[in-house]
Symmetry: C2
Subunit: 191 residues, 2 copies
């Protein structure tokens, strides 16, 4: 317990998460991504510009959290809320990221809605896991990950990742994800 | 990404957790603690022996999990299910533990039932957080933790902790927790 003595030990706390709606009570931090933040991510850039113009740059996804120290041993957690919709037939999705410390996992426990977790590794492996209420997706270390909402209500997940993981958006923006999820004739198609 | 290349990268997976009942579909590992496993933990040892004898060593609590590598960067997770009941007026509880790597946190998201998370540090600080459906308790690094069921149905939580955390039951068995939770005249009392 030598390390405990040499640094201040934080106090326990608790927060409320509505397990029906996915709402977090009194989040300390609220990250908002609008359609305009998603430039460069969809297959049809013109369709995205039209959506931004026609709908006044609508909400795309949000992250709610109560931060803890960004250190190894701590656990960051959040509620991720992705709106329903499509851009040129491609379902709304998050930007996606690797972790800055690439060898760190992430857990997504889906509370509401439906869709997919798309994942890829730097050396070209690719995977997709279906998300629905009560489905817990394990994103192992070294996998970039992006969620996609294929339903008609928000896709809401409770997420946990190591405190020191950080976010690396740059590499996946350059690489792109090998699979995309579209609506075609009322069907969900992964290409 | 050098570390990624030098070790095998695990594949993503997903599992089902019923967000009403707390049941995990197809757990790979199932840990069972019976009343006889709790010797040395309750204030009234004679009452525990009577319960073991009268009720045929009943189930006390269970842990359901699908293991991942026990390494830094991975996230272990489980469903913890603690039965309702009392031993000499003291509510059923788990043994409680520090982590072997003491500076690692744990998250408990309560899915069903009600009770308390009792916590303490090696240097004598003590805390209690109430648990109920949708309540997420953050157990910071260096805090030993034990859950207590004060309700009349199982207390079920979804738990996440760092892969390399491990369990240290020995130190807290020697130290004991400074607070206990009793039923007295129909009330829940922390002493």
């Amino acid at each position: 317990m030598g390390k405990a003595a040499s640094k201040k030990i934080a106090d326990p706390f608790s927060i409320g998460i509505n397990l029906e709606t996915g709402e977090m009570a009194n989040p300390a931090r609220h990250l908002v991504r609008r359609a305009s933040d998603m430039r460069g991510h969809y297959a049809d850039p013109a369709a995205l510009e039209k959506l931004i113009k026609d709908q006044g740059d609508p909400l795309h996804y949000e992250v709610f959290e109560v931060p803890v120290p960004q250190e190894d041993g701590e656990l960051m957690y959040c509620i991720s809320k992705l709106q329903p919709g499509a851009v040129g037939g491609e379902f709304f999705m998050t930007k996606g990221h690797y972790h800055s410390v690439a060898g760190t996992a992430e857990i997504y426990l889906c509370i509401r809605g439906g869709g997919y977790m798309l994942m890829k590794t730097a050396d070209g492996k690719s995977a997709a896991e279906k998300m629905s209420r009560g489905r817990m997706v394990y994103v192992p270390p070294f996998w970039a990950h992006r969620s996609v909402n294929t339903g008609d209500e928000p896709l809401i997940s409770f997420c946990v990742y190591p405190g020191h993981a950080g976010h690396n958006y740059g590499d996946i923006e350059t690489e792109g994800f090998p699979r995309r999820v579209f609506q075609a004739n009322g069907q969900v198609v992964i290409r």
